[in-house]
């Protein structure tokens, strides 16, 4: 039972819908956090540092940075939602306990949560893309294909975050994951500079990280350059997504179905 493959059911949508309704109420502060920080990076680093850098990988530094930030902010949004918000609903507010008394199962709840994490990424990603476009960092309508990629990044990073929630006994625990995994990925996966400038040993490790592949999809779409190895990049993200989804469901079952 515990190790069974997750069961997917339309009931998960009612969990997703619950989160949408809550988000609608708290939309202001939520959007501010999800857009404010990336906007600061774009304005502060993009214009400030961009002035000294000029071009990077045959595009303006603002475009280079905007494409990296679009992917990284989806990673951050999904991670925070999957840890702090999911933990709040699972433990602090005991929302899942209430849901478990209905036809919803843990499988439904987690599927709904992951779907919601990705939706939240899509909402803030759309806003960031609009801002980046207004700043002149986006080149061409093919950039709209960034949105499904952002949704996929959201699905990918929701799983590991929910795994952290399943193990956690308090909010402080999440800083291990943020410090040991999320921040290094943010710094190393090519958000701020091309990974080709890293030492070869480090490059090999960085090539295994999902954010690296996400950026290699988003960047050409934003800059208008040619997309390469789409299957590989999408494939890596999908594998991470599926494996994390499986363990997220199993570990939350182990915590709640006892």
């Amino acid at each position: 039972m515990t190790w069974q493959l997750p069961h997917i059911n339309f009931r998960a949508l009612s969990v997703w819908r619950r989160n949408v309704l809550v988000w609608r109420k708290l939309m202001g502060p939520s959007l501010l956090i999800n857009i404010g920080e990336p906007l600061l990076y774009l304005l502060g680093l993009g214009y400030g540092l961009g002035l000294f850098i000029g071009q990077m990988s045959d595009m303006s530094y603002l475009t280079f940075l905007a494409s990296g930030i679009l992917a990284a902010s989806a990673m951050n949004t999904a991670s925070f939602e999957g840890m702090f918000s999911v933990y709040t609903r699972m433990v602090t507010q005991r929302t899942y306990e209430a849901m478990q008394a209905t036809p919803l199962s843990v499988d439904d709840i987690i599927a709904g949560e992951i779907l919601w994490c990705a939706t939240k990424c899509l909402i803030s990603g759309t806003a960031i893309l609009a801002v980046a476009t207004a700043l002149g960092a986006v080149h061409g309508t093919q950039a709209l294909f960034v949105l499904p990629i952002i949704f996929l990044i959201g699905l990918c990073f929701a799983g590991p975050a929910i795994i952290m929630s399943a193990f956690s006994h308090g909010y402080d625990f999440f800083y291990y994951y943020l410090t040991l995994f999320i921040t290094p990925m943010f710094i190393l996966s090519g958000v701020f500079y091309p990974i080709s400038s890293l030492p070869t040993g480090v490059q090999a490790v960085v090539q295994l990280l999902p954010l690296t592949h996400a950026i290699q999809l988003v960047r050409p779409l934003v800059s208008g350059q040619a997309l390469t190895d789409v299957g590989l990049h999408v494939g890596v993200i999908v594998v991470y997504t599926l494996v994390a989804y499986y363990f997220a469901v199993v570990l939350v079952r182990k915590r709640l179905v006892v």
């Binding site: 009931r11 209430a98 849901m99 008394a101």
Partner: protein, 314 residues
Amino acid sequence: MATQRRTKSFETELVIQARGLTKRYGEATVVRGIDFSVPRGQCFGLLGPNGAGKTTTLRMILGVTPRDSGELQIFGVDDPKQAHRVRARIGVVPQLDNLDPDFSVIENLSVYASFFSLHGAKIKERIRQLLEFTELSDRAHTRIDVLSGGMKRRLTIARALINDPELIILDEPTTGLDPQARHMIWSRLRQIRQSGKTLLLTTHYMEEAERLCDDIIIMDNGHIVAQGSPNALVKKHIEAHVVEIRGATESISINFDQFPPCRRQQVGDTLYCYTDDAHPLLAHLESQGELITLQRPANLEDVFLKLTGHEFRD
């Protein structure tokens, strides 16, 4: 044919049927092969000290705690794969409030309805009726955090009724409420029962069990130690009268042999005397000025303490 039908309808009259129901956590066995059944339309009480296995039993009924062995039929179904179908016919009032603090009173009900795939005009009308039933109509748009404890409980009861359940499980429904709120909840629970629904409740208040329950089981250490109606249990286990003697009982020697038979138990500073004829003892005690005495009819609490002991449980 006729016999078959009768057998079938007899079976479906049992809402819950447990046989040899067992749950272990590692080395600890918290529910030890219990047998019980709950007929449709009854209010059934599950009593026991903390850690007796009550909540675990309720969770197994809901299918959110897998059992280790035994049979457990709910509505005649014993299949963990059907647990979601079974839960669609059950309402739950949990021990601790788990209302959604991000929503108003009415939103709590409509969002909860959506978990049962209930939407639309029909559910709107049902929510209106439930708010009326729980006297929360004028609070429909209030935020949860400003509701009183009693209002939250009433809302939780309304929420448990959203799917028009056949069985309602209540885990300590009135813990922490003031007497007014408690009486209000009791009257609503009686109404729910009169409407033909089955209630299964746990409580630490023996008075609550005596007032509400048709049948009771008392659990201790994962076993069922007694079962019956509250009256029958009191009659079976306890003498008709109880005399409580408080004060310096050890300094006064009462020769109990001179009175009708009396079972005695010292708990802290109180000596409990259980007897069928309390008058001679009371007459004697009246002459002992410094003792405080109280005479009362035996009740379910006496049964509970006799069967589960007087030691503290944590």
